[in-house]
């Protein structure tokens, strides 16, 4: 093991992030975009001022969407690969593949679901432009808090494991995480800027589609990156699985 392993894992993480981004893009385009369009329709029907279009809707919903989702996938893929380098062999008796999937699941929860439950994704026309600074600050604060607390909980679990056993150490660490996140939910300010007549079904369908995009992104990343990492770290075991699979094809 040398630093080329870190580099190789980083490259594979970014590639897996790109692949997962492509999957997420398909979901975003077919599941998310119709709701974005409906929300923009609501916005236009309820506002009298006409904004000049800098980028046309057809570009925003295709090339623009692709740029954003793919860059997001590559960036988080790189970060997750670096986190994987720290986690591998340290979090428990897991193979590289299982470590990658576990890490992705935790990333989905801490990077997205925990902030989402306090400050959920909003479609166009939900949100007062004058409060964008405050909302962005709170959203990133919630993300940062969630990630730092997840790291702290992992370290806590590792320290408790020799005394309590892996099971109860994990249960206690997750409970500690949940309690502190609960306090953050209780003390951080509430944001509710949904216009009075905005359709409730559109809002929850939009939010579910946003959740689906992230689930596909992180699920896809865990599987893709896990496979690439397994082949890099245990080249023989990945090969022998493939060899054993060949006779089964007859």
């Amino acid at each position: 093991m040398n630093s080329t392993t870190v580099r190789n894992l980083l490259v594979r993480g970014m590639l897996a992030g790109l692949g997962a981004g492509l999957l997420a893009l398909v979901v975003a385009y077919f599941l998310g975009e119709p709701h974005v369009d409906s929300a923009i329709g609501f916005e236009e029907a309820h506002s009298h001022e006409h904004e000049m279009e800098v980028v046309s809707r057809s570009v925003q919903s295709t090339a623009g969407l692709a740029t954003g989702v793919l860059v997001y996938g590559v960036a988080f893929g790189g970060i997750a690969a670096l986190a994987f380098c720290f986690a591998m062999g340290r979090v428990g008796r897991f193979s590289p593949r299982a470590t990658a999937l576990l890490l992705s699941g935790c990333a989905l929860l801490t990077v997205y679901v925990v902030p989402f439950l306090k400050y959920p994704a909003n479609p166009p026309s939900v949100g007062d432009p004058d409060t964008i600074g405050r909302r962005t600050g709170l959203y990133f604060l919630m993300m940062l808090l969630s990630v730092l607390l997840a790291i702290a909980a992992t370290l806590l679990g590792k320290r408790l494991a020799p005394r309590l056993g892996t099971w109860w150490a994990t249960v206690l660490a997750v409970a500690a995480f949940a309690v502190v996140i609960g306090l953050a939910y209780a003390f951080l300010p509430v944001i509710n800027e949904v216009p009075k007549e905005f359709p409730a079904t559109l809002l929850w369908q939009y939010r579910l589609s946003a959740l689906a995009i992230q689930t596909v992104l992180w699920g896809g990343f865990g599987l893709l990156f896990g496979e690439l990492a397994e082949r890099l770290i245990h080249p023989k075991s990945a090969e022998s699985v493939a060899e054993r699979a060949v006779p089964a094809a007859h």
Binding site: M1, N2, S3, T5, V6, R7, L10, A28, G32, E33, V54, V55, Q60, G64, L65, A66, T67, G68, V69, V71, Y72, V74, A75, F76, G78, I79, C85, F86, M88, G89, R90, R93, F94, S95, P96, T99, Y112, P115, F116, Y119, A121, N122, P123, P124, G127, P129, I132, G133, R135, T136, G137, Y139, F140, S209, A210, I213, H234, K236, S240, R244
Partner: protein
């Protein structure tokens, strides 16, 4: 019958070795920051804060920003 029983696969170490922290650190520092800059441009540029003037970046990634859960406008 007995000779058809599958041989257990050759034992390979399932749990990988730990990578030394001092080898991860330089990669994590440099690429970690680079990846965060990318996320900033997708998630927040020309919204709450701006590095570049105008609204081009914001408008270009507008739909992704909304659908990825970032506050947009």
């Amino acid at each position: 019958m007995a000779q058809h029983v599958a041989q257990p696969p050759a034992t390979t170490p399932v749990v990988p070795a730990e990578l030394p922290l001092k080898e991860i650190a330089p990669w994590a520092a440099f690429f970690g920051v680079l990846m965060l800059v990318l996320l900033y441009f997708v998630g927040a540029e020309q919204g709450a804060t701006s590095v570049f003037n105008g609204t081009d970046v914001h408008e270009w990634v507008h739909d992704a920003r909304h659908l990825l859960g970032f506050p947009c406008h």
